[in-house]
């Protein structure tokens, strides 16, 4: 280790200002600070610091999303294996089949290992492509701007990958994350300066550019010829009866054994992540509570209003919670501090706005059975305005208090 430290010290001057490799100082920094802590000393007060730092925050979010990641692998494999069993298929074609063949894993939907392996062959390629394509842009911008490469990217890429369906073509994955990173974040100046969630920007790009690959009935289970609609799609057509007819119970939806994007079907996994994020104080509990209350309030309102023609009016809040990307978006997307409101009161309002919008889109808009992505982007756009009003209100209130 000492030899490596010496080597790093020796080559450091190459990357310093004026050195031949000055352009690549960001890469040197990333390697150096990844392995060692820097030796600089604070110049001014305060001299004590909280233990928490940005790198750790980001890693905690990645930890929190791990249950979703494993559930994604398991569920994709499980759905695929189950579909194969129902269609009477014995093997899959292509490299995935070859790998599974070579490892002798098989396609037993009852075997957790087999499902995990099969699912991993879909989830991991998407994730890796995201890392490579998004990482390329990150490094490029870091080098040109002389910034450091930020750990936040790992969060963005993981969340982005989990919001995609298993059958998504990998070139689209690369295109989407490129759009998300460049247009969603870097053009505004990089980490901390974007006003939209970059992962959602990437997903929204794919959603509107290639709708047939990311919505509909055929994309969720990676088995040719198998068609299964998402529960929300079913509900749009025939309400809770249609969901029940498809053999989906609330428990299925809660655990995640339903059609949907890879990482967002399991509400249970999302709630485990939520508990972790709240306990570690990484995510704002106010935002999560706001999203929850907004959705509960709005869906209850629709329940009370009722409708003869639109079965979605009758969907109770606990079904909204477990269907689609609601839980995943509430826990991981809405709580992104960069694009959320920053004042405490603003966070309640921001969360409630998202909860309200998602219900509104799901119930009233026939075009989009899924509303979470758009609701959060909508909330992102309004977050600065919400903060502004909160601050102005606060100023007025204090002026009144001191005037009296």
């Amino acid at each position: 280790m000492g030899a490596f430290r010496n080597y790093m010290d020796r080559i450091e001057r190459l990357f310093n200002r004026g050195g031949p490799l000055e352009r690549f100082s960001a890469i040197y920094e990333v390697v150096d600070t990844f392995i060692y802590t820097p030796a600089d000393v604070t110049g001014g007060a305060p001299h004590v610091r909280d233990g928490i730092d940005l790198k750790r925050l980001m890693i905690l979010v990645v930890f929190a999303a791990t249950p979703c990641f494993f559930m994604a692998m398991y569920m994709v494999g499980h759905e695929a294996n189950a579909a194969m069993a129902s269609l009477g298929l014995q093997s899959v074609e292509g490299w995935r089949g070859a790998v599974l063949e070579r490892l002798g894993i098989g396609y037993d939907p009852a075997s957790v290992g087999a499902c995990l392996w099969h699912g991993a062959l879909y989830v991991l390629p998407v994730y890796l492509v995201t890392l490579i394509a998004g990482g390329f842009w990150e490094v490029l911008f870091a080098l040109v701007r002389n910034h450091e490469i930020n750990e936040g990217f790992f969060v963005t890429s993981l969340l982005y990958a989990l919001t995609l369906p298993a059958t998504i073509p990998l070139w689209q994955v690369a295109l989407g994350i490129s759009f998300g990173v460049v247009i969603g974040k870097e053009v505004f100046g990089g980490t901390g300066k974007n006003f939209l969630n970059p992962a959602l920007v990437g997903r929204a790009f794919l959603f509107f550019a290639y709708p047939s690959y990311i919505s509909g009935n055929a994309v969720w289970v990676p088995v040719d010829g198998y068609s299964g609609a998402t529960a929300l799609y079913l509900a749009k057509e025939g309400g809770l009866t249609a969901i029940a007819n498809a053999g989906i119970t609330w428990t299925d939806a809660f655990l995640g054994t339903i059609q949907g994007s890879m990482g967002e079907t399991s509400t249970l996994a999302c709630l485990i992540g939520a508990a972790f994020l709240i306990v570690t104080r990484v995510a704002s509990w106010r935002i999560i509570a706001g999203v929850m209350l907004g959705m509960v309030g709005t869906s209850t309102l629709f329940n009370v209003l009722g409708s003869q023609t639109n079965p979605m009016f009758a969907m109770p809040w606990y079904w909204h919670l477990v269907l689609g990307g609601y839980a995943f978006g509430m826990v991981f997307m809405a709580t992104d501090p960069v694009s959320a409101a920053m004042t405490d009161a603003g966070r309640w309002i921001y969360g409630a706005l998202i909860g309200f919008m998602v219900t509104l889109i799901r119930v009233l808009n026939p075009g989009f059975p899924e509303g979470m992505m758009l609701a959060i982007l909508f909330g992102n756009v309004f977050a600065p305005l919400i903060d502004w009003f909160v601050i102005q209100t606060n100023i007025r209130r204090r002026m009144r208090r001191h005037a009296s």
Binding site: V41, V48, R49, L54, P337, D344
Partner: protein
């Protein structure tokens, strides 16, 4: 209704009779690191061979030096006099000889040098002859007491260093409702006020009584944080024994920065000091316990401020403890009195870990605002990590005890948008450091605010200077114009006064000149071209002239006539 209160408006009482406390927004609960040091008694550090006394140890104008190298000074002698209303004198803290008046390193965040008086001590520590002690301060006019406090060089010893008599003289029209004696000492590591209240309870209490006499407040509270039960017990016993009246001891919870003036007032009364205002504006005055003890020394014993209690601590010091140090003692002497540095020492700070600053050399002297000398190891206070981008997590806003939006201030300060930063009340920032402590991106927020404040001050100074220059220029232009007009006016007047008779006079003069010229011309004509001295020559002379002319004509060319 009390019939006696007809003339005076009924005021809601400023403090809750049951000592119901309030909360200020934000703040942090920090580990104290005080126990070991607080349990040891204060030790006097003796007389160092040299004392370095900066001319500016307070907020306001620097003092004016009264001594020259070679002068002998006695302990307590005023060696620099206040200059201006907000300025304080400096006293020799021991007897000896002035050896230099020059720029020396002083404890200041900038690390710059500043003018100091250097005294070589003689070890005798002789007091000079003092003016007579005030027999009983209750018999003395308040103005005289304030003058005595000023002459004694007393400033706020809690850390800010604001001249005490200025603060005491600042009155709200309704008088003072509440005098707060600040024994909170909220910053980690520091415990000199704790020891002071335990060991010199009587002095503190007597000082409080003098302050009460000066201010005549309706209430007086000695506020003590709950991490120092012994000090609290001592003060309670003393207050109880002395038949307290409207004086009370109140325990406040340990939340940093409760010791901040505005925060403490909020905790005790629930009231907020207006932005840009002073506590006196809402009828409250806050004084540190150390200041109270110094007031006692000044008023009762006629002793100026020449020493103070300082906590010398941190894992970088072998035997950390509280010392009584003469002002001007070097940090090195203080640390050596405490057994010297440990081998892992990394940084030397003046003040606590939150608001203190690193000094570049341990030659800097202890000054009136030095409450703590903190030598820390790297392990104890690891350097902050790399500066990372702000992700707007809002943790800074959640902990800000001044109810500000540190994040917005940061954006504006960073982009040099100083007007916007002021709109967000930059100047209400007390620089407590809570925001920077919790920032996950390790952004040195306080430095940004300090920089922005300094930038605004500089701009204002420049603007003021420019205004003065502009006014001077305009005044000069106006003066020149006035002078020009006056002169032309005078000329016109004189011309007027000479007109009429003046014209004839001119003609007369001209005529005289003309006549003279005429005469000359006539004469010339009469004389022809011949020189005048050639008239009426004798034959002898004519012969001589001819000879001369002949001689001249032989020369070639003729050089002279």
């Amino acid at each position: 209704m009390n019939p006696g209160s007809d003339t005076t408006p009924v005021r809601e009482d400023i403090i809750d009779p049951r000592d119901q406390l309030h909360r200020f927004h934000g703040g942090l609960v920090l580990p104290g690191h005080r126990e070991a040091v607080a349990s040891r008694p204060v030790q006097a550090a003796g007389i160092p061979p040299r004392l370095v006394l900066p001319l500016k140890q307070h907020i306001g104008e620097a003092a004016e030096c009264l001594v020259r190298p070679g002068d002998r000074v006695s302990k307590g002698q005023m060696i620099a006099a206040p200059r201006g209303a907000i300025s304080m004198p400096v006293h020799a803290s021991s007897s000896g000889t002035v050896i230099a008046v020059e720029a020396r390193p002083v404890p200041h965040p900038s690390g710059l040098m500043a003018p100091c008086i250097v005294i070589e001590t003689d070890g005798r520590d002789e007091w000079g002859q003092a003016s007579a002690p005030l027999a009983d301060y209750r018999e003395v006019p308040v103005g005289r007491l304030l003058e005595r406090i000023r002459e004694s060089g007393i400033v706020g010893l809690g850390g800010a260093g604001f001249p005490t008599q200025v603060k005491l003289a600042h009155r709200s029209p309704d008088g003072i409702d509440l005098l707060v004696i600040n024994g909170v000492e909220c910053e980690p590591y520091i415990c000199c006020d704790d020891r002071l209240m335990r060991e010199r309870t009587g002095e503190v209490l007597e000082g409080v009584r003098i302050l009460q006499h000066i201010l005549k407040p309706r209430h007086c509270i000695i506020a003590i944080e709950d991490h120092m039960p012994e000090a609290e017990a001592a003060m309670r016993a003393a207050v109880g024994a002395a038949a307290a009246g409207n004086l009370r001891v109140v325990r406040v919870p340990e939340i940093y920065p409760t010791g901040g003036e505005r925060q403490l007032i909020k905790v005790l009364t629930g009231r907020e000091v207006p932005s840009q205002g002073f506590p006196a504006d809402i009828g409250i005055i806050c004084q540190n316990v150390g200041t109270a003890a110094a007031v006692y020394q000044a008023v009762v014993h006629n002793r100026p401020l020449v020493s103070r209690l300082v906590t010398v601590t941190g894992a970088g010091v072998r035997e950390p403890r509280n010392l009584e140090l003469l002002l001007g003692t070097s940090f090195r002497h203080a640390v050596e009195t405490c057994g010297g540095y440990s081998s892992e020492v990394d940084r030397l700070l003046m003040g606590g870990p939150m608001m203190g600053f690193a000094v570049t050399t341990d030659e800097v002297p202890v000054i009136k605002t030095t409450n703590c000398i903190l030598a820390v190891t790297r392990e104890e206070m690891p350097p902050s990590g790399d500066l990372l981008p702000c992700i707007r997590c809002g943790k800074c806003t959640a902990v800000c005890p001044a109810d500000l939006l540190p994040q917005q201030l940061y954006w504006h300060a960073r982009s040099g948008n100083l007007d916007a930063a002021q709109d967000y009340n930059l100047f209400d920032c007390i620089e407590c450091g809570c925001c920077a402590t919790v920032c996950p991106s390790h952004i040195p927020l306080v430095q940004y605010y300090r920089h922005a404040k300094a930038e605004i001050w500089t701009q204002e100074k420049q603007k003021k200077a420019a205004d003065i220059a502009r006014r001077r220029h305009e005044a000069r232009i106006a003066r020149l114009e006035r002078v020009r007009q006056e002169r032309s006016g005078r000329l016109a007047e004189r011309k007027k006064s000479l007109s009429g008779p003046a014209d004839q006079a001119t003609d007369a003069k001209q005529a005289v000149i003309q006549a003279a010229l005429e005469r000359v011309r006539k004469k010339k004509e009469e004389a022809g071209q011949a020189p005048k001295n050639m008239d009426n020559l004798t034959p002898e002379q004519e012969r001589l002239i001819r000879e001369i002319d002949a001689r001249r004509s032989q020369k070639d060319p003729p050089t002279e006539h």
